[in-house]
Symmetry: C2
Subunit: 407 residues, 2 copies
Amino acid sequence: MQNPTRTMDLKACATLYRNNLLQDVIPFWLNHSPDKKYGGYFTCLDREGKVYDTDKFLWLQCRQVWTFAMLYNRVEKQQVWLDTALLGAEFLARHGRSREGRWYFSLTREGQPLVQPYNIFSDCFAAMAFGQLFRATGDTAYRDIAVTTFDQILSRQDNPKGPYSKSVPGTRPLKNFALPMILTNLVLELEPILDPELVTHIIRRGVHTVMEEFYQPDQGLLLENIGPGGAPSDSFEGRLVNPGHGLEAMWFMMDIGSHTGNRALIDKAVKIALQLADYGWDDTDEGIFYFLDAKGHAPQQLEWDQKLWWVHAEGLVCMLKGYLHTGNEDCLHWFEKIHRYLWDHFVDEKHGEWFGYLNRQGEVLLPVKGGKWKGCFHTPRALFQGWKTLEAILETPSAQRPGNGAA
Amino acid sequence: MQNPTRTMDLKACATLYRNNLLQDVIPFWLNHSPDKKYGGYFTCLDREGKVYDTDKFLWLQCRQVWTFAMLYNRVEKQQVWLDTALLGAEFLARHGRSREGRWYFSLTREGQPLVQPYNIFSDCFAAMAFGQLFRATGDTAYRDIAVTTFDQILSRQDNPKGPYSKSVPGTRPLKNFALPMILTNLVLELEPILDPELVTHIIRRGVHTVMEEFYQPDQGLLLENIGPGGAPSDSFEGRLVNPGHGLEAMWFMMDIGSHTGNRALIDKAVKIALQLADYGWDDTDEGIFYFLDAKGHAPQQLEWDQKLWWVHAEGLVCMLKGYLHTGNEDCLHWFEKIHRYLWDHFVDEKHGEWFGYLNRQGEVLLPVKGGKWKGCFHTPRALFQGWKTLEAILETPSAQRPGNGAA
């Protein structure tokens, strides 16, 4: 297929995303992923979709429930989408939680617990999944799972790893970016079933944490780990930058800004996103680096220079939302750049879906379509968000777009 | 310097290793690593030796004590080597252990504990360090630290991670290769200060575990994780192969075979080492892969195709010892191949020491000389072992070398 953005044809792009989502990516998961015998999904799929491992990782099980329920709620009431969401949700409701109601990290194919509930993001994605499924079905049992899980997350948020934390308390107190960032998205997801005051409080706190504490204005960077009050820590953890994570967070901020009518928040998120894209882009080989060190030292992550699908998917959505909300032409330029890289390197036109892992040079490092960390989530979400954001851009007469002409 | 093995000049090789060790690698660490203010060592050194992080990781602190004490014991009674070993040992004795006598994973520069003693290999390397230092000094306080730590390791060996283990007990009981493998080396290191019956028992048990349980004769592979009795597990952990780890273990087995006069053990170790080298070698870009999946699936380690210094250092020692003990020409061939790759890619003739991390193509991925995992250990140990093994080969008239002519 000819790359439509070489001529910046946004309409063709919207169609491309819609078609890739509905005629390629979703059918790929529908064909290969459901475990009709035990429930849940296979996520370890090779290039052609063949299952190479049957373990069930909770992040990916939950995220796939969310994806199918979201498509049912927001694209079309397709019964097969709802059935697929339910296939995962029933398996999760039956096997996913410990006696204390915390979500395991992984299960065997049959649902036996393998890895303890040490990872609070399993809970985050479970709340997201069951919240979306309640919207699809109206079944209050799903709402209750979502709300109970969300309450548990809040009660654990200051010590998310609990007894599994390896840090000696007090020596170097660091706060990690991922949980506050994900909460800002999760709270919008669950807004209809949460107390409005709680929602307002969490949004205010989350925006402050992300934009005032993790964002370092002198460096123009979002750090992955900070000391008390946002103090940078000169350590491997403290110097870590994950540009894709930051770009994802910035579109969460734009969603909050758009939802709450906070223009200044949107403008600041766009400014940070443009700084991050500039910082994270590999001028030698193209694409966005996975990890960098804020002081330019060697990161401890050996995979630092690889190009990952989700980083580029999130960058794409971020830049499109930035353009929609501000009309800033730099966003459009970055969208075009990331779109081109993505389409030239990740999309597998032969066997469907996207590759997930490229080396620095952009060659396929692992030809799989899914594994322990890649499932049915970032790709379909980015295609959906990209498609809908492009439609919104096309529906906004350019003269009415804020900031138009001022870029 | 011209590569001496292109003509298989083993004498020039012995000189090369000796000189690289004594005139380059050891001076590099002596110049840049000692923390004269707080004791211990800086291990995070950039290409030129400049310190870029001051945290103290126990694996590397202990291993550097061991290296300098070992050189003092086995090469020359240089006071600066002993002083350097003591600089680390005193820091470790003062700050390294929790109240329960377990060794932390990391400390701040000043010696405050940062990461809990969750990792039993800190204890293994501490026992190794203080055992070697007792030999150098005769100070029984060091012997007592080594023996007490060794006893603790034995008491924890069936549940090494203790409360930090994330596995749900019972679902998929897996045993990891690293601890039994390291114990077979550690017990030889500590032999003079341990009960001879205990030594015999640990050797017998270790050899059985490594050679009968972890070794899978039908695949010709050593697995990193096995089920009860050596049963393979069809999971990410169960399919994992780390060829460098296996090659290192095989020279530990040859040392035990040589020490106990067990010819059959040496022959089996050589056979397995040759299979592993063949399996782990990258026919496209040369070098030995870091991780592979025994069934040929995608490993979960994104760094799987990288070329690491320690893998090649251990492979080199393994092949030289194999040749010394058996005269098998295949070992010599592999030694030559690994030597050439190592000298062409890892040795930094401009700024000294070796690079640690290359991408698949053999280009430098991180230009550092040390970090959280690379310190003053694998490189000097391999150079010392290579040098001494080459000398032993050169001193053995070829007609007397076992197996000569039969390869």
